[in-house]
Amino acid sequence: MTAAPPLPPMPFSLGYGTNGFTDHPLPIALELLAEQGYGAVALTLGHPHLDPFAEDLDAQLQALRETLRELGLRVVIETGTRFLLDPRHKHKPALVDEEAATRVSFLCRAVDIAAALDAECVSFFSGVLPDGASPETGWQRLIPRVAEIVEYARGRNVLVAVEPEPGMLVETVSDALRLRAELDEPDNLRVTVDIGHCVVVEPDGVRGALLQAGPLLANIQLDDMRPHAHEHLPFGEGTVDLTSALATLAELDYRGVAAVELPRHSYDGPGLAVRSMGALRSAWEEVHAMKERERWLEESTTAVAADPASLPRIFALAARRVGRKPLHPDTDPTGVLFGAVSDHARGELIGRLGGLLPPDQLAETLLGLYNRGDSSERRGVLRGLSALATASPALPGVVVGVGLRLTEEALRTNETSLVAAAVGPFAAAHLDQHSWRHAVLKLVFMGISLRAVTDLDERADTELARMASDYAAERTAAGRPIPDDVHLLLRSSSGYSTSS
């Protein structure tokens, strides 16, 4: 048996933003973070932790540098303090305002602080356009000011990183790249990406934004967010795919700091530091598991291409390599609806075989794997049929024939996970209407959610509605509750005509 290789370390350093620890003195916050295994800190200048205008700033910086060294923490400088420069107006003056001298000189001071702390970079944002100002005016103001800061930073050997923020002039990575282009691509002007922001404003999502910034990434902020609200949330409360984000960072070989950004959660800072680290570690484990699945798929495809007779054993042993967790544990903890990761790994392997084997041999292979497989292998074959159907709308007749035979066989069983695996894309594309209706009603009867069905709305018809209605009547007559999914069938089918 192949033992799973140990989890490799992340190429980047996990950090936590001090703006999520404003109820703790800075040295205590740093200790707590180091204790939880963080290797970095995103230090927000200003109240309450480090006043950039303090008279004894140099002495403070020296002490801080020593503390960071002792705790083994890397540091990035964040400059998004809300009322640092104007006690009455948040984030004012901004780099896109008419007057912004205090902002420019503050950011230059941040550069000095970064130099004194040997920080990775200074992160800054463009600001919200003031009322009445056109974007072009904004850009005209922004470009020379950033030029000045970049030039100042170059002299001190400091990187500055512009952070796109929802609602600001530089809102997306594209905008950040435009700014950089306008300045003739200065080497020390880089990009900060907040992965939560990406689900709000980035057209290609988190992964797209990270890939777009690519080698220019100098700072990452980690948090969750919902698509319609710029609100930094703890992991798991929004729609950010943390696993995909970490996988993308690893793929880019990002080696900087990636720090949790929860500026409105100081009231539970220590708790969130623990839970965030837990979420990050599980996401990283998942990244590793995904890679292991990819490796298994590559190795298996190569092995089967060289010797098709090796397939049954590879297929049988798959779960020992890739695990058998549910594919979507949050929405399908038993894995009945959407299958286990091993089912899908097997399915993907079959999808690959579609390009390797001639149709007759593929059909025969599917039949053999199913007939000689246990339930999990059979689920793998059924998911494989779906992979084949998804990849090619015009499968060879012999493959469709065998696929239908296996689908019908699975639909005759009473094993919930087999029945659920048999109503995916292959059945949606190829199963006749009569069998398909019976399959859907069987799911309802077995108490399996209709979320398992591919193209339910497209194929539901009035005959299925009639069957569902009769079933509901039977339940009512027996004094039993009617499953919610029956209502779904009655509703969703109203717009479709009977076909067979």
Binding site: M1, A3, A4, P312, R313, A316, L317, A319, R320, R321, V322, G323, R324, K325, P326, P333, T334, G335, R372, D374, S375, S376, R378, T413, N414, E415, T416, S417
Partner: protein, 292 residues
């Protein structure tokens, strides 16, 4: 009391039994392949049976919160029927399936040459696939059969620690203990072993390398005999830890040698009711492989 029944034929039992097993603390079990009462007449009959053990029966057990594993083999009785023997060719592909934790039941029924042949070939398979072996001792000629069984195991080169010799009683327990194999006891209402005698054997020979099972099947048997034995042990002054060793840790250690035990609680059933289910045995991870 958490219980792992290391030998029970659930295909012959009802869903009421599953409910009662769960309520009694049974969270995992092993169902060895055996004969069906009605003799089989062809290989296909075995195939459907094996598939059922790894498919439908495992699914059924999971519906009741119980992890189901199986052992696969041509049983000694049917090893005498030439129509059944070719099933030996089909065994290798089953021995790599998930949740197949041993080769078994093998051994002797009437001690015929055909049984000898099937026994040795299947011991070879166990060696080749690094799986433990479950050996059944004959109902008639038990002592002689046990002697011969242990000789054959010795000659096969399979390590005695990978073998459980089952259905033991007062007359042959010592032989098996001395051979270094695991001692299996089937607690039955009338025949084989009962819980009071079992407690006496445990008092005399200790709790190490002992497996207690109900061997419940389609005959007169009681799937809750494991629980009853645990209760009898407590009544006789054994500690809860002794009971846990015999009824949980021992079978986990024995079958864990396959690397194929899956013991984490079934989703939807309360993990808290099954303490340490996923823990290794005495700090060693006997539950090798991906346990997710």
């Amino acid at each position: 009391m958490r219980i792992f029944d290391p030998h029970i034929h659930m295909t012959s039992r009802t869903t009421n039994d599953y409910e009662a097993l769960y309520a009694s603390g049974v969270r995992a079990l092993v169902e060895p392949a055996f004969w069906l009462g009605q003799p089989r007449t062809n290989v296909g009959s075995f195939i459907d049976y094996f598939d059922s053990l790894l498919g439908w029966e495992r699914f059924r057990a999971a519906q009741f919160g119980i992890r189901h594993h199986a052992t696969i083999a041509l049983n000694p009785k049917e090893a005498n029927d030439p129509r059944c023997v070719p099933v030996l060719e089909e065994l290798p592909r089953y021995l790599v399936k998930e949740g197949v934790v041993a080769v078994g039941e093998i051994g002797y029924d009437s001690m015929t040459p055909a049984e000898d042949e099937a026994f040795s070939r299947q011991l070879e398979l166990a060696r080749e696939y690094s799986l433990p072996v479950m050996v059944h001792t004959p109902h008639r000629e038990k002592l002689a059969g046990t002697h011969r069984t242990l000789d054959v195991v010795r000659e096969s080169g399979v390590a005695p620690g990978m073998v459980v010799v089952d259905h033991l009683n007062e007359t042959n327990v010592e032989l098996v203990k001395e051979a270094g194999a695991w001692m299996g006891f089937s607690i039955y209402p009338d025949t084989k072993m009962d819980e009071q005698r079992m407690v006496a054997i445990l008092s005399r020979y200790g709790t190490e390398r002992v497996l207690v099972n109900s061997a419940a099947d389609w005959g007169r048997s009681d799937p809750l005999k494991t629980r009853r034995t645990g209760e009898a042990m407590l009544a006789a002054g054994f500690t809860a830890d002794d009971v846990d060793q015999v009824l949980w840790r021992n079978p986990v250690e024995f079958y864990g040698q396959s690397g194929q035990l899956i013991l984490d609680p079934i989703p939807g059933f309360d993990a808290a009711e099954l303490p340490d289910a996923a823990a290794g045995f005495e700090g060693n991870s006997v539950l090798r492989g991906a346990r997710v």
